[in-house]
């Protein structure tokens, strides 16, 4: 199944390479990986989607946490969270089909961001699922190019770290006491 990991890392050269290299070395499959700045200077946030069983997801988590430049890893697969992906789809559009494509895009709440003589570029934001479905309906018109960002994800509610700590509130151990901050 797909697991979504949120990884905070030091914003240093080579960190992306260290994380990606780990997946290759341990033969874990990356479905998508995105990285960008966060609310804190010097800290980057990665969203990694990987295809593995729950036991392997734990191993992925533990192995990522072992990297010295990794600050925190959270598997938010089981958490209520919002996931978004942006896709741009360039599709063939003739005089006859252009209106139909724009209409379809509207149904998906996608936007047309470029129009040229024989093609359109449609931008869609949503779960990866939604982009897939739009792609499916656009395929008959002739999809010329697809660019996708990969998934970014954020847990709903308070900050992730506090939320995860709350899960231990019922037990006598807190996350800090167990010292296993990569795991929940």
């Amino acid at each position: 199944m797909l697991h979504t990991l949120v990884v905070y890392v030091e914003d240093k050269p080579g960190v992306l390479n260290r994380v990606a290299s780990l997946f290759r070395r341990r033969a874990f499959n990356i479905d998508s990986l995105t990285v960008g700045h966060t609310e804190t200077a010097g800290v980057s946030r990665m969203t990694i989607v990987c295809d593995c069983d729950p036991a392997n997801a734990r191993r992925v988590e533990a192995n990522i946490y072992k990297l010295v430049d990794v600050l925190r890893v959270d598997d938010i697969t089981e958490h209520p969270s919002v996931e978004r992906e942006l896709a741009m789809i360039k599709v063939t559009a003739t005089h006859e089909t252009r209106a139909q494509i724009i209409q379809l895009a509207d149904v998906f709440r996608a936007r047309v961001i470029d129009v040229s003589e024989d093609s359109l570029i449609v931008e869609i934001t949503g779960s990866g699922d939604k982009s897939e479905k739009l792609l499916d309906v656009l395929k008959p018109y002739g999809v010329l190019e697809v660019a996708r960002t990969g998934r970014i994800a954020m847990a709903r509610g308070p900050r992730l770290a506090e939320r995860l700590a709350d899960r231990f509130a019922g037990e006598e151990t807190s996350e800090e006491q167990t010292g296993v901050s990569y795991s929940v």
């Binding site: 290299s21 734990r58 990297l67 600050l71 006598e172 151990t173 296993v180």
Partner: protein, 569 residues
């Protein structure tokens, strides 16, 4: 005070408590070598950079302190790769410092430029590229911290030539370690202790699997206390040997591919396995599908990434073994398992693994004789550094180690050529220890150039070459699994005794069992290194043997009596 990056390297190393480094100079590291003469640091000039890393590794394994290796850029750095990987697989704390071309030249394929941080990314615990003198001190401090803490491992620091040449203020206090993401200090949750205690209480046939973690964490006393209080016998991994005295009545001996038959059978019959600082390597588990199916498993392990990697465990206590056991011991119920211990004694009585020792002297020299006699002559007190192959397994079976860090061997990576350089590192770390190299004729020839280092450093190291004229372990696999097609395993060897003499050492050739003890005695009494060429039975095999990937109980046993080889006819 202003110092050059090169000076800061040595100043920082000294403040980390380093007194000896193993290295080889070259263009990109020359500024550092030039500055070295200003500092009271012993530099051991190796003959190949792989040797430098093995020496640093041997130094670390002999003491638990961080070993340091130095090399230049390009080929100097790439020659270190095998030694770094060796240290990585056996969690040995070493710091490797390499020179790099000037920062302006990086990426231009300059002379002797290699992306060594890229090359070593998967085989180091962490690595650094330093391009400014200001970063040298903080990086070295951080590197030592990372190498030695948690699950130890190798760290590489690549320092550009201009970072060595330029100057900056040296402020050691300001260079303190600030690693917000690195938290190696795991402690298990109290609830997990309770789960473990419940399993221990229920167990009728418990067994401890003791690994290198005992030695790394210094938990010998705690493991023995636990074993005695709960009457739980102990099986050892190769790298655990010495962690519990072989003479201790609860110590059953080695497990795994060439482990004792009764130990492997006991693992398969146990109803609780307590894995202490070991990682269920394929060489100790055999076929995972049939491994210890009757047993619940408790894993005490410092590295969370090892938990449930190969074997699913019922309880994991992630933390330093000594600390975890100190907390667990008062909770563990005192218990007795007379039936289980009786069963193990019964299994042990059934074993034929020791038969070779008791054979009459028929003129043949077996490797087991050599190891056994060496053990008796040194009272089991030597630090033995082995290479990889048959001799390594015979050493593990026939030399009884009673103290931690008295066996130094490449387990995880299985690096041939490890023994001689690692022994040099061990001897320099512990000059008062009696150091013996036990090495095959194949592996010895991979790094025998370091005999020159033994001579140059005036080291008292004795080398026992177990010479069977084959790459013996590979030959054994060919015998068992490839219908005796000995492809590329017979060796035409030099005269090792003469070779030793050419290096300026003493060389002796031994072909009869009766000569073993006198020769070992002579070598021990001789000042300076002695190389002994023990020409042993050529087609002897290591028994028992669990074929790779086979069930642990599916051991190939020594044919009894020993099958005489063609040489007898």
């Amino acid at each position: 005070m202003k110092k050059t990056g090169a000076q800061i390297i040595w100043e920082s190393l000294m403040r980390q408590g380093v007194s000896t480094v193993f290295g080889y100079p070259g263009g990109a590291i020359l500024p550092a070598y030039d500055a070295m003469t200003q500092f009271p640091i012993r530099h051991v000039l190796v003959r190949h950079e792989q040797g430098a890393t093995h020496m640093a590794d041997g130094f670390a394994r002999a003491t638990g302190q961080v070993g340091v290796a130095v090399a230049t850029s390009g080929p100097g750095a790439t020659n270190m790769v095998t030694g770094i990987a060796t240290a990585m697989l056996d969690s040995s704390p070493i710091v490797c410092i390499t020179g790099q071309v000037g920062s302006k030249l990086i990426g231009s394929d300059a002379f002797q430029e290699t992306d060594i941080t890229g090359v070593t990314l998967p085989i180091t615990k962490h690595n650094y590229l330093v391009t400014r003198a200001e970063d040298v001190a903080p990086t070295i401090r951080e590197a030592f911290h990372v190498a030695a803490s948690g699950r130890p491992g190798p760290v590489l620091i690549d320092i550009t030539k201009d970072a060595q040449q330029s100057s900056c203020e040296f402020d050691w206090e300001a260079a303190e370690v600030k690693l917000r993401g690195y938290r190696p200090d795991h402690r298990p949750a109290p609830a997990d202790f309770q789960k473990a205690v419940a399993l221990i209480r229920e167990a009728k046939r418990p067994l401890i699997l003791a690994g290198r973690g005992i030695i790394q964490s210094g938990a010998t006393e705690q493991v023995i206390a636990f074993s005695e209080a709960t009457q739980t016998p102990i099986a050892m991994t190769l790298l655990g040997l010495g962690g519990i005295p072989a003479s201790h009545p609860m110590n059953l001996g080695m497990m795994g591919m060439h482990g004792e038959a009764w130990v492997n059978t006991a693992i398969q019959e146990a109803d609780l396995l307590l894995a202490f600082g070991m990682r269920f390597d394929d060489r100790v588990t055999g076929n995972l599908k049939t491994y210890a199916l009757n047993a619940k498993k408790i894993h005490i392990e410092i590295d969370p990434a090892e938990v449930n990697k190969n074997v699913h465990v019922d309880v994991a206590l992630v933390g330093d073994l000594r600390e975890v056991l100190t907390d667990l011991l008062p909770l563990a119920p005192k218990s007795e398992h007379p039936e289980w211990l009786g069963r193990i004694t019964e299994l042990k009585g059934d074993s034929a693994v020791r038969d070779i020792q008791n054979l009459p002297d028929n003129g043949h020299l077996y490797a087991a004789h050599v190891i056994n006699d060496l053990w008796r002559e040194t009272d089991g007190n030597a630090v033995v550094v082995t290479d990889v192959g048959q001799h390594q397994m015979w050493e593990a079976q026939y030399y009884k180690h009673n103290t931690p860090r008295s066996l130094i061997t490449s387990g995880g990576l299985g690096t041939m050529g490890f023994a001689l350089p690692a022994a040099i590192g061990a001897k320099i770390a512990r000059p008062d220890a009696e150091v013996w190299v036990v090495v095959g004729d194949g592996g010895f020839q991979m790094t025998m150039c370091e005999l020159a280092t033994v001579v140059q450093e005036n080291l008292d190291i004795n080398v026992a070459i177990i010479n069977n004229g084959y790459l013996g372990m590979v030959r054994q696999w060919q015998e068992f699994f490839y219908e005796k097609r000995y492809a590329a395993t017979p060796l035409v060897n030099p005269n090792f005794a003469k070779l030793a003499e050419a290096f300026g050492l003493t060389g002796i050739t031994v072909t009869k069992r009766s000569e073993v003890v006198p020769t070992v005695k002579a070598a021990r009494n001789h000042r300076g290194g002695v190389v002994i060429d023990f020409q042993v039975e050529q087609e002897d095999s290591v028994y028992p043997m669990v074929p790779a990937g086979a069930d642990l109980q599916a051991m190939i046993r020594r044919p009894s009596p020993i099958v005489e080889t063609a040489a007898d006819a």
